[in-house]
């Protein structure tokens, strides 16, 4: 019994950590621009797929991972530079629609550059499951959890200790005031896209050995990551992590103890219930409109 419980927990935490990384990407861009970037899932896909093709060309695993993260980061920067940034004077809704267009475009491009089949990445340290108190965990799951923790630590250092990080935070609190004290808001926006894309790519590379990767995985992961960000409170970094882990756990426990056919229903019904009580998410800042 305890084995079963642990198994559901381990599975839920692994997938939850991935949702958390995607949700962090949503929050970073939302903070910098109030745009919900619906191409966030595509960054995950680009990370996984480019790692697969880098390995295909014979690069060693660590280089391929770095290459994939850099490639996705570059795509993120290009997306801001070529599309979102150019229209930054437009309405937020317009910008959101641009990101939806970009996600469709990137998916199409991925089909052309790569292919339509499903690919697997080799696991970072083998496929041999580790037994823990009656549950079994893949080493890759530990990688996912470990890297997520490291990423969160680096991010909190970045936002609290570096000038660019502080500038990004300042922009998220008050864009006009940030501009007045001399922060280049345009650069902040650019950096936020690059950072979000790199985060997505890390998630994509980490998850590819467990769940495989293909040109269209971004749709589902993007949606779940978005739900996680909303659950935790859009724009809140601890909220994104909490939301991601919670969503992963809800799904897995729902599948395990209630019904596997309705696991998404269970997870999303609980999210709705939470949002009824706290419309801004669990850790979201309560907004009050000033008159």
């Amino acid at each position: 019994m305890s084995g079963e419980w642990l198994q559901f927990l381990a599975g839920g935490l692994t997938i939850g950590a991935i949702y958390a990384l995607v949700a962090l990407g949503f929050s970073i861009i939302y903070n910098a621009s109030h745009v919900i970037n619906f191409a966030q899932g595509e960054f995950v896909m680009i990370g996984g797929m480019s790692a697969v093709s880098f390995i295909g060309t014979g690069l060693p695993m660590p280089l391929a991972i770095v290459g994939a993260v850099v490639a996705a980061g570059a795509v993120g920067l290009l997306l801001e530079w070529l599309a979102v940034g150019r229209a930054r004077k437009a309405d937020v809704v317009t910008l959101i629609i641009i990101t939806i267009g970009a996600s469709i475009f990137l998916r199409g491009l991925a089909q052309l550059i790569w292919d339509k089949s499903i690919h697997a990445l080799p696991a970072l340290s083998g496929d041999h499951p580790i037994a823990l108190f009656g549950a079994t965990v893949l080493p890759q799951s530990l990688w996912v959890l470990g890297v997520t923790v490291v990423v969160v630590i680096i991010l909190s250092w970045f936002f609290n200790r570096t000038l660019l990080g502080k500038a990004m935070l300042a922009t998220s609190y008050n864009r006009l005031a940030a501009q007045l004290v001399g922060i280049e808001v345009r650069q902040v926006l650019l950096a936020s896209f690059g950072l979000a894309a790199a985060l997505g790519a890390i998630a994509g590379v980490l998850i590819a050995p467990i769940t495989f990767t293909s040109y269209d995985i971004g749709i589902m992961l993007g949606l779940k990551g978005f739900a996680a960000a909303i659950l935790g409170g859009l724009g809140s970094f601890p909220g994104a992590i909490l939301g991601g882990l919670l969503l992963g756990l809800l799904e897995n426990l729902g599948a395990g103890y209630v019904s596997s056919a309705y696991k998404d229903v269970i997870a999303f019904a609980l999210i709705l219930a939470v949002l009824f009580i706290r419309p801004d998410g669990i850790l979201g800042a309560r907004k009050s409109d000033r008159v």
Partner: protein, 389 residues
């Protein structure tokens, strides 16, 4: 100047060749080409089926044309990408019938797409050969609708026969949420009692799910499970296989014919060892005994496809080959593209040896394959091996 001269000469030469080609083509042009309509899921979640189907049709229509066409007429392929979407499939079928005025339709990569097209082809009275798996396509028999892939019920029966051989009768099911997955699950539940198989667990997972350990943990905790069958398609079964090994479940694992391609072994890697699944002979063309009646056709198709596209054959492309050949043979026998005559001739297909097996159609049987069409395969050392019946 010299350059201009030679360029002009080349132009002249090209012009002459072109004119010559026109003259040569003239008699053939007098005859309208035979239009073969197709709607396939070349992109989307079922792309790995639709893509080889499309490639196969293109390649063999080219070949038939190079050999002079069928009944003295060239073949023309009019193909649309339905992306696995039933609504698009309906639109394209309409367009094939009304605008492109095709003589016959091949397609519907998935059951959903096929069933969306069925009312239209029945109404327009046009021969239609589906490439999808489910039994509902030909049961009850619809006058104008045929199909070439084996049904999911046959896959269940093949698996259950194998279970009977191994004296296992308590089976756990884990199925995906797609059309193929649900249809196969329903068929397996239906025929299980006939083979004395008891279904002791019945789990499911979503189409884009990435982790099935929760469902498999439940199965692992169910008392008396002797074997597990995964009715699934796409990346789901590969994840199930990996999770299965991760959890250290020792009972035999069966997969469906829906994942019968090298892709599955590649994705699941070492976890695929020992997995059994029913599949067409095509996949194991090279290990079939020399006296196998299917050996020549599957070897030839496998050779042609890999030579042209540099990728592994899948049974799905084979279904398209069978459909095209059954159709062209029927047109030859009918001596025209008269839709009613062609339909009658398709129905009279007897003993046609395709990549999927021997086809024997009749007014009550619009698929015409029997259980011998399936081989039980087991993954050993990263490759398919035949399980002796």
């Amino acid at each position: 100047m010299q350059l201009f001269k030679s360029a002009r000469a080349a132009l002249y030469a090209a012009g002459t060749v072109f004119a010559g080609a026109l003259v040569a083509a003239a008699p053939a042009q007098a005859q309208e080409p035979i239009r073969i309509g197709a709607f396939l899921a070349v992109t989307g979640p079922a792309a790995f089926l639709g893509d080889p189907e499309q490639k196969t049709l293109e390649m063999y229509i080219e070949r038939l044309n190079a050999a002079g066409g069928v009944i003295g007429r060239k073949l023309q392929l009019v193909s649309y990408d339905s992306g696995g979407d039933a609504e698009k499939a309906r639109t394209f079928t309409k367009r094939l019938i009304e605008q492109d005025k095709v003589d016959l339709i091949i397609g519907g990569t998935s059951t959903g797409e096929t069933m969306a097209a069925v009312p239209l082809v029945e109404q327009a009275q046009i021969p239609f050969i589906s490439l999808a798996g489910a039994v509902v396509i030909v049961e009850p028999v619809k006058k104008w609708v045929f199909k070439t892939p084996h049904t999911d019920r046959m896959a269940c029966e093949k698996i259950f026969t194998d279970l009977n051989h191994r004296k296992l009768n308590k089976l756990a099911l884990i199925s995906g949420a797609g059309g193929f997955d649900r249809s196969m699950r329903a068929e397996c539940l239906k025929v299980a009692p006939k083979y004395g198989i008891e279904i002791v667990a019945d789990e499911s997972y979503g189409a884009a799910d990435t982790d099935m350990t929760a469902q498999l943990t439940k199965i692992k905790g169910t008392a008396g499970v002797q074997a597990v069958l995964n009715c699934g398609f796409g990346q789901g079964p590969a994840i199930v296989t990996k999770n299965y090994r991760q959890l250290g479940i020792t009972q035999p694992l069966y997969q469906s014919h829906g994942v019968a391609s090298k892709e599955f072994i590649k994705l699941a890697g070492g976890a695929a060892e020992g997995v059994r699944l029913p599949a067409a002979a095509l996949l194991v063309a090279d290990i079939l005994p020399a006296n196998d009646p299917q050996k020549p056709v599957v070897t030839a198709y496998s050779h042609d496809y890999t030579a042209r596209y540099k990728s592994d054959v899948s049974t799905f492309g084979g279904h398209a080959y069978d459909a095209l050949m059954i159709a062209t043979e029927a047109i030859k026998r009918a001596g025209s593209t008269d839709k009613a005559k062609v339909r009658d001739e398709i129905e009279k297909t007897k003993g046609f040896m395709g990549t999927g097996g021997a086809f024997n159609m009749s007014p009550t049987e619009h698929m015409g394959l029997d259980l011998t069409a399936f081989r039980m395969l087991e993954v050993r050392n990263g490759n398919w091996t035949l399980v002796k019946d």
